[in-house]
């Protein structure tokens, strides 16, 4: 009985949009890995399909657990979150200067993706009773502390990308929970201001800043990639060339010279959007953008329709997470965001990311399915 109702109450528009994004993603991934699949001797597409199947299972499992029952376990979720992050710091394997991976048997998982979902659940439970009571900076301090502890652990890895996702989720949920938009924007603006000042101070007066050289350079080349066109500026320049050269219609599937000649860095994960933009042009990018908008828009509708504030906040958390990923990932390839490696949801290759996204999609759907209390 329950299955029938669940099926009946699914948001098919949302599902359809995600499905199309997944299919588009597979086509792009196939093209993006022409060289990598030879180099690593494996099919990224088949693996990704396998992950999608696993993700669907996770999605379905999540559907059948009424989210509202999770509200009691807010503290447990929070503690689990911290434990996972600590585990990364202790057992994590270092790749590219960050301890982001935990080896489990022959597989490696990236807890950073899962902890995003945990944060959303925990923070929704933490914020629900505070709705309408977040008017002053003082009111926000507990929230900052709540998010700050896991955030510090993430930055310790260091994983700036996930850290920023945390911050984005927090601000998104705070906004919806009724914190003053002006206050929030001042905080964001102030934060950016401090970063700019700190970097300026670093160069002008040799200030110490808590950034590694490569992170600092990413911010510098965001302003002018020609400062270092062959190293840190390379990604900025080459990804824009890929996107721009796609033109209206694109160069055709598998025909992107920037892609197949390896001018793009890791084009099957962080820079996969460049491949799409280069090979499918403005039409392709606009369609993907539209599909993401549908997902986001439906997410906001779900937040509105939720039977309780807890559900609304979960939905907003999920939406904030996705929109930040989209903004950051696409933004860095078109020069409106600095380079920070986070995947494009449902498109970038990678099991952890896909699982996490399917999980939060499950949460979102869950909120939708149970929004009408009369059903059950």
């Amino acid at each position: 009985m329950k299955i029938a109702r669940v099926i009946k109450n699914l948001d098919y528009l949302l599902l359809g949009a995600v499905g199309l994004i997944l299919v588009m993603g597979l086509f792009v991934l196939d093209s993006a890995t022409v060289n990598a699949s030879v180099k690593y001797n494996m099919s990224f597409v088949y693996r990704q399909i396998a992950w999608i199947v696993v993700g669907l299972i996770v999605f379905i499992v999540v559907l059948f657990v009424d989210y509202s029952k999770l509200s009691k376990y807010g503290v447990h979720i929070y503690v689990l979150n911290l434990l996972l992050l600590l585990a990364v710091l202790i057992f994590g394997e270092e790749t590219n200067g960050a301890q982001a991976w935990i080896p489990i048997g022959p597989y490696k998982i990236q807890p950073a993706e899962i902890v995003k979902a945990l944060l959303i659940l925990g923070l929704a439970q933490f914020l629900a009773p505070r709705i309408g009571k977040l008017n002053t900076f003082k009111d926000l301090i507990p929230v900052f502390i709540y998010v700050g502890v896991p955030l510090l652990l993430i930055l310790k890895q260091p994983d700036l990308g996930t850290g920023l996702v945390y911050v984005a989720i927090m601000f998104g949920m705070l906004l919806v929970a009724g914190a003053s938009p002006l206050l929030l924007f001042s905080l964001i603006g102030g934060g950016i201001g401090i970063i700019v000042l700190a970097i300026y101070g670093h160069y002008a007066w040799d200030w110490w800043i808590p950034l590694k050289d490569y992170q600092l350079m990413r911010l510098v080349v965001f302003v002018d990639p020609m400062i270092d066109p062959h190293y840190t500026g390379w990604n900025v320049i080459q990804s824009q060339i890929a996107v721009g050269s796609g033109g209206l219609l694109g160069k055709g599937w598998g025909m992107g010279s920037q892609n197949i000649n390896d001018f793009l860095p890791v084009q099957w994960t962080d820079f996969i959007f460049c491949v799409l933009a280069e090979e499918f042009g403005f039409i392709g990018s606009a369609i993907l953008l539209l599909l993401f908008f549908v997902v986001i828009y439906r997410g906001i509708i779900i937040a509105r329709k939720s039977k309780d504030t807890y559900g609304s906040l979960i939905a907003v958390g999920v939406v904030s997470m996705i929109i930040f990923h989209v903004l950051q990932n696409i933004g860095m390839t078109i020069g409106i965001m600095p380079i920070t490696g986070i995947p494009l949801p449902f498109v970038s290759y990678g099991g952890s990311s896909l699982l996490a996204n399917m999980m939060v999609l499950g949460l979102l759907m869950n909120v939708y399915i149970y929004h009408d209390q009369r059903i059950f």
Partner: protein, 668 residues
């Protein structure tokens, strides 16, 4: 429901939230539209230049083979390191150059030397800047491993000249080197900065044939510059093959014997370090062998950076090795000119063969030029055999300078032979025309000098006259000026009489190959060849065939008769006989060809010249010259050679003539 208030809050905050989301999407959308719709052209060009490379394929130069087809000069592929300045544009160029210097590990290549190369190429920085050619595989590997830190550095394979016999015939073949001033000249429009071009020898003269046609490949490459696929290719075409008249074996013998002769002469005359020799086929004008010393090894150039030592050796030292002394050097011939004097006397009818001339050690006409010995009564044959100066001064007097000039002209002396290698010298035949020009020049010089003196005098006196007061003093000074002017006018007369007139002694000096005479070795060899073949003067040449890359003969050079000398055949015969007497018992070259069989008689003439050049001490330092032809009854080959500071002709280059004649006639 008390829960209603938060829900109302959420409804309004979600509206703000949606607004922000829409704003974010609009920003992304607009930025995408800007990049992909408005600036698409710019980025498409950038993407294309990212991946398209025009890779020139430098054509191999044509081979050079000897008259039997043995390959003297060919090509081999070498790795060349160059800088692509455009690739370096945004880089720390200094850093890249410093790293490259360390990797190349060549004492000649420093930061400064590379900067110099870049500066030299300032106007054409879009072309690759060649830093070093022919680098080892280890260095190529080292550069490839450091690709990332060496942006703009590229390693390409170019064909480079390869000389199968090292320095053999180096002057004649010539060398190739980086193009420079040629770029400004017509005919070099399609050359690039990195091209090598023939600078001397036949490499220069036949540049248009040897060069070939460069091809190119348009390649799509990856970010690491690895080629992905070829878009299109126009293959290069190797330059034409030159078949030259040089005989490898004869050339080797000539070079080796020249070096041995120098070593021998140096024992007594250490300044003997330079010289030249030529062997001609008398019936065609083909150059069978040609040597110049000091040696030039074309591989020392070949697009490489010359060390200071090499620069000194080729350009600065005395004698500099660069010049092909066989065609670029003019030498006072000394006694090897005597056959010309003899023929002039015969032609003028003033010599009667049986007539004896008495040599008592010096000529009886002023300035009484000495003979090197006392020969007693000599006739044409014995005088030639013994190289008597008195006899040939007398013959010169009898023939007169006009006739000597005519004969010399007929034999091509003092005239470009037209041989197909560059920078040929003219030499000096002091005939009437030359005298006229020379004396006019001298007269001009003398007149200018004396005119200046007179003007100065007049100025001096006009100043003096201006300050004196009385008329008497003035008159006195005017008189003085007049007298002084007279003195200068007399001086003018004297100088003109002395320096702008042909004196009898000039004719005597000319007759024995001294005085104003100066000829190139190729002219001398050709004069001997002309004498030997009965009076047909051919243009000497080196390249006989040009064969293109498909094996088609595109040029074939035939013997070219320049002049049939206007000299009675019997006079030529008498003169040849006189030269045969030189190698007969009692002749100055007897000992050299003693071992030659009866049927291969050699006609020869030794020469010892006082060049009067810098570095020669009068009556102590002499150039040794030697001419010869053989066989006496049907001459095939002619030789001429010089060894600077060789002291005597027979003792120096005579040995070279002997060695090449032995090789040619297979005499043990």
């Amino acid at each position: 429901m008390e829960d209603n208030k938060p829900k109302i809050i959420l409804k309004s905050t979600l509206r703000i939230y949606l607004g922000i989301v829409i704003a974010i999407f609009i920003v992304i959308f607009l930025r995408l539209a800007w990049l992909q719709l408005i600036e698409a052209d710019i980025y498409q060009t950038k993407a294309e230049s990212n991946t398209m490379r025009w890779i020139p394929e430098v054509a191999s130069r044509g081979e050079i083979v000897d008259n039997k087809g043995q390959v003297l000069v060919t090509n081999r592929p070498v790795f060349t390191v160059s800088l692509n300045y455009l690739g370096l544009k945004d880089q720390d160029i200094d850093e890249v150059i410093k790293k490259l210097v360390i990797i190349l590990n060549d004492s000649e290549i420093t930061y400064n030397s590379i900067e110099k190369i870049i500066t030299a190429q300032r106007s054409r920085l879009f072309e690759p800047i060649v830093i070093k050619r022919d680098v080892s595989m280890e260095i190529v590997t080292a550069i490839e491993e450091r690709r990332r830190v060496l942006p703009g550095v590229s390693v390409d394979v170019y064909p480079q000249r390869s000389y199968n016999y090292g320095a053999l015939a180096g002057h004649l073949l010539g060398y190739v080197h980086s193009i420079k001033e040629e770029l400004e000249k017509p005919g070099f429009e399609d050359y690039g900065m990195t091209d090598l071009v023939g600078k001397t020898g036949i490499e220069k003269n036949y540049e248009q044939y040897l060069r070939g046609k460069n091809g190119f490949r348009q390649m799509e490459v990856t970010s690491k510059n690895q080629p992905v696929r070829e878009i299109r290719a126009i293959p290069s075409v190797q330059g034409d093959k030159l078949v030259i008249t040089i005989d490898l074996k004869l050339q080797q013998v000539m070079e080796q014997s020249f070096d041995e002769a120098m070593v021998e002469v140096q024992k007594k005359h250490p300044k003997a370090m330079a010289g030249a020799a030529v062997l001609l086929d008398v019936n065609t004008g083909k150059v069978l062998a040609m040597v110049s010393r000091p040696t030039l090894n074309p591989d020392d150039f070949n697009g490489k950076h010359l060390t200071q030592e090499k620069v000194d050796y080729y350009f600065r030292n005395i004698p500099p090795a660069l010049y092909n002394r066989a065609v670029q050097g003019s030498y006072v011939p000394g006694s090897i000119f005597k056959p010309i004097t003899g023929m002039a006397a015969l032609e003028s009818g003033e010599m009667i063969l049986e007539d004896n001339v008495l040599c008592n050690g010096k000529y009886w006409n002023p300035p009484y030029i000495k003979c090197w010995s006392v020969h007693g009564n000599v006739n044409y044959y014995s005088a030639m055999a013994k190289s008597c100066n008195v006899y040939f001064q007398e013959m010169a007097r009898r023939a007169g300078i006009v006739e000597i000039g005519r004969v010399g002209q007929d034999f091509g002396l003092g005239e470009i032979t037209g041989i197909d290698i560059p920078y040929e010298s003219v030499g000096t035949l002091p005939d009437l025309e030359w005298q006229k020009n020379k004396f006019e020049d001298r007269a001009k010089g003398i007149n200018e000098k004396i005119d200046k003196k007179i003007v100065a005098l007049e100025e001096e006196y006009s100043k003096k006259i201006a300050v004196v007061t009385t008329d008497e003093e003035k008159k006195q000074l005017e008189l003085q000026l007049k007298n002084e002017k007279k003195v200068w006018e007399q001086e003018r007369k004297n100088q003109l009489a002395h320096y702008t007139t042909w004196h009898d002694w000039d004719t005597y000096n000319t007759g024995i190959g001294q005085g104003y005479n100066e000829y190139t070795i190729i002219q001398l060899a050709n004069y001997v060849a002309t004498l030997a073949n009965g009076g047909e003067r051919y243009k000497p040449y080196i390249v006989e065939k040009i064969i293109d890359a498909n094996g088609n003969i595109i040029e074939e050079y035939k013997p070219e008769l320049i002049k049939l000398v206007n000299i009675a055949p019997e006079n030529l015969k008498k003169t040849r006989d006189a030269m045969l007497a030189v190698t007969a018992p009692g002749g100055t070259a007897y000992s050299i060809f003693r071992n030659f069989p009866e049927k291969i008689k050699v006609g020869a003439k030794t020469g010892t010249a006082q060049p009067g050049r810098v570095g020669y001490i009068k009556n102590k330092d002499y150039d040794g010259l030697f001419i010869a032809f053989a066989p006496g009854d049907d001459p095939q080959i002619a030789f001429a050679g010089v060894m600077e500071h060789g002291f005597s002709g027979g003792g120096s280059v005579g040995r070279v003539a002997k060695a090449v004649f032995e090789e040619y006639f297979k005499i043990q």
